[in-house]
Symmetry: C2
Amino acid sequence: MAPLADLYQVSMAYGHWRAGRHRCPAAAELFFRRPPFRGSFALGAGLAEGLRGLRAFRFSAADVAYLRSVLPSTTDDAFFDYLATLDASEVTVTAIPEGSVVFPRVPFLQVKGPLLVVQLLETTLLCLVNYASLVATNAARFRLLAGPDMKLMEMGLRRAQGPDGALSASKYSYIGGFDCTSNILAGKLYGIPVRGTIAHSFVMSFRCLEEVQPRELLPLAGGDPVDLADLAVSWLQRVCDLLQTPPSKASQGELAAFVSYAVTFPCDFQGLLDTYCVRRSGLPNFCAVALALHQLGYQAIGVRLDSGDLAQQSKEIRKVFRACEAHFQVPWFGTIPIAVSNDISEQSLEQFRREVRNLLAQLGCHPGDASRAEMSPGLSLGSEINMIGIGTNLVTCPLQPSLGCVYKLVEVNGSPCLKLTEDEEKMTIPGMKAIYRLYDAAGHPFMDLMALEEEPSPSAGQELGIRVLGRLEETTKVIPTTVEPLHRTYFRDGQVCEPLPSVPEVRTHAQVSLNLLNPVHRRLHEPQPYPVAVTERLHRLFLELRQGSH
Amino acid sequence: MAPLADLYQVSMAYGHWRAGRHRCPAAAELFFRRPPFRGSFALGAGLAEGLRGLRAFRFSAADVAYLRSVLPSTTDDAFFDYLATLDASEVTVTAIPEGSVVFPRVPFLQVKGPLLVVQLLETTLLCLVNYASLVATNAARFRLLAGPDMKLMEMGLRRAQGPDGALSASKYSYIGGFDCTSNILAGKLYGIPVRGTIAHSFVMSFRCLEEVQPRELLPLAGGDPVDLADLAVSWLQRVCDLLQTPPSKASQGELAAFVSYAVTFPCDFQGLLDTYCVRRSGLPNFCAVALALHQLGYQAIGVRLDSGDLAQQSKEIRKVFRACEAHFQVPWFGTIPIAVSNDISEQSLEQFRREVRNLLAQLGCHPGDASRAEMSPGLSLGSEINMIGIGTNLVTCPLQPSLGCVYKLVEVNGSPCLKLTEDEEKMTIPGMKAIYRLYDAAGHPFMDLMALEEEPSPSAGQELGIRVLGRLEETTKVIPTTVEPLHRTYFRDGQVCEPLPSVPEVRTHAQVSLNLLNPVHRRLHEPQPYPVAVTERLHRLFLELRQGSH
């Protein structure tokens, strides 16, 4: 594939080449300016793919021919010859490990190398890091809301920006804390666990029991095959008696679909309850088939609900399962996992949490307990819902569909650069930097500190005079208990030079990084902004450059 | 590439196969339920890629091996052998031509074939059509707001869902009415015009004029080379005198960058005005270099503004250009194209339109004229802004980041299917259908009508009794002046059987289709919903099936 680039980057490359500046040493940084989703943090992701992009960075003969056709006809031929020789072999990349919590203005990637190549890499890196970090952050927020025990499944394949967008969504949702995906290709390519349940179209494709073929199932413990359709019909009568709902209201097509699925997957039978009426059709039909299966020694693995008031219905479904458990003496029936889907958003999860709170209150819990339960991220959403499938609101990130990372030159030819605009937020911080994360005595990171590369590393336990972004006019004193240098060198001499963790390792690292955060920064609504600071020397450099440009 | 599929689809496929139903004739429809962005319409797009996906539909040996590893171990081996033989050769696809205006509930794709394959194609088709149609619709809205003469450039490469998401964004924005893209690869692959301007990083990479190399330029008409840097410095003095701004406030690095770019691209010189202060640096530096170039016979091609109040600043810039034109007697200077970018959204364009309205009011236009000017889509945004670059808000569609197309079975084994849920909107309309667009005497489409496939086609000029969705309880009479059958057969016997238009042809068709719309449906805010109806026969079928399921 041709390098990802915007045309102006190639025009500028020609400008540099004509000026003989293309091999000037340069450095650029990749960072975002505002944390996404009105939180305080993002998860940095996309590093491994960015490094692969670097390794593959090259203009093919066809790319060069195309560029020749779109650049002005006065462009020097020798420039195109030069383009054909380019690669990233002289580039060095340092970065914060993938899956780490990252903060606004703190570069999570630094690129050094010849000016022309450093500038050409801008779009490749932004394109590979931006969405990856955005969706990983979104997934992490869902995980924080749902608590550690809830199963979270990504199912956004139909809503992503085409096949590759969907693959990125599956991979980075997993990294952000999801458990599995519905996307087979993501499972195949990245080893992410895949899960799937029965769909409405399967249910709708049946009209009556006569269509079920084969209908016989061998009991798990052996014996003669049994007609599962007949058995389910007799169970339906008993279930309907118990639930006081007329069997005639239970869809025959739905029952046929469930029986057919159960004969095919007797150890993995699941029901989708809402193709027709949940209470009078989906639920009795599922219970009938699950009880018939139970009679043959098999255990149903779950149900899914895809419309309506999910929290309310899941309570009613749980009640029915418990009633069946008691009435038919089937010990596992009350705890059949309930999965929900249908446009689940952060707001939905918050609503589920409120339900739990109300439930606790009804159970006579102390209001403080209930309120604490609601406030604390990581709360289980109650026993009614065991798995949540999230598609659109995970992969398209509607609360903020783009992270807005930027890639800015910070040094050329040994001179630091500064972008000073009318827009204070759009200013850059000049110079090649070392980045440190400072931890307090409780083990929480409390500040990220940017220093000039040549400055000595700050020491743990020593007081530092620094300037916090946003209030640069005053010096602040801090004493870190621990100091962690954040960047590692990942790419040098055209090769990845640091072993890259596997996808599950990145996922684990992300949860560790999130857990270290102080709850005041981790909370999703109105978090305390995480302070980012510069050293006094870096601040002086900034002032000098600003002075010089006025 | 493996077929795009969710795991449950393969599980269901196994269910059908085990039941011997995998070759039952079946039909499915692809449609959306609500128009995006609170408008009344969408542009249907992604058909050509969907057809390519069909042609390539096949499970490789590796895909089959992977599926074997994730399906239950009890799965019959012969099923995997069967999967390896599957393709879309028995599938027929009819569709509304790509780029047409499409409405909620009206299928823009119909798929017929063996049940198992029809179901497996669901995700492939949804994934390829959903985002394509969404971003084409978004682009069309920007085009309606900006008017036909404004140049619109797509520049979302960094904000899309990875490289392929970005390519889709470029392609379908172009189809929706954009003029060009910054994305080189999109230019190379789809022949979309590419454009590019100078960027902040180029400007920032210069500190002083000494870095400019080479500095000499040959006058266009011939003669001795001239030091453009010296010439620009002398022009800067004259410009600063005229603008009454001190030359010392103009950044030397920025001037150097402009001179360097002008020497490299003398016929294509553009300025980016806001790396430093627009008024005291960017604008005087640009005018100085442009006037120096003019002295050598060259004409600058434009400026770009990427921060701050774009409407206001572009007015001030235009004023300065006109002042230079008058003072220095350079006839083309007042009309130098001004391009703007920086997070441009529909709201930004609406703000630009309000500015025009105010301007008209100031010029003493009749308030009605001004108000009409503001209301009418297609208004020029005034002479100050000539080109708009849109990235994030185009490609991520933040107003609604997903179209929500669905793919539903409508017939199996000759029997129509109906999904009846508690959620009225989620009901499907059963049976294989023919779709007609009805036009009024003014040539506007006024209704889409769904009929059963076997019904005779409605005739132009004849009264039809139909039922409008949303008020099915009453019969409505309409007399169409023209009746257009909407679907064509695009895929049959494993091949695309209808010549596919080129990307520019689809783009033209989209504008024609939009222009035919009645303004009451076309307007972006609170449009009149476009009526979609069913024939009496289709309505009776729906009632019968609903009856039967209760």
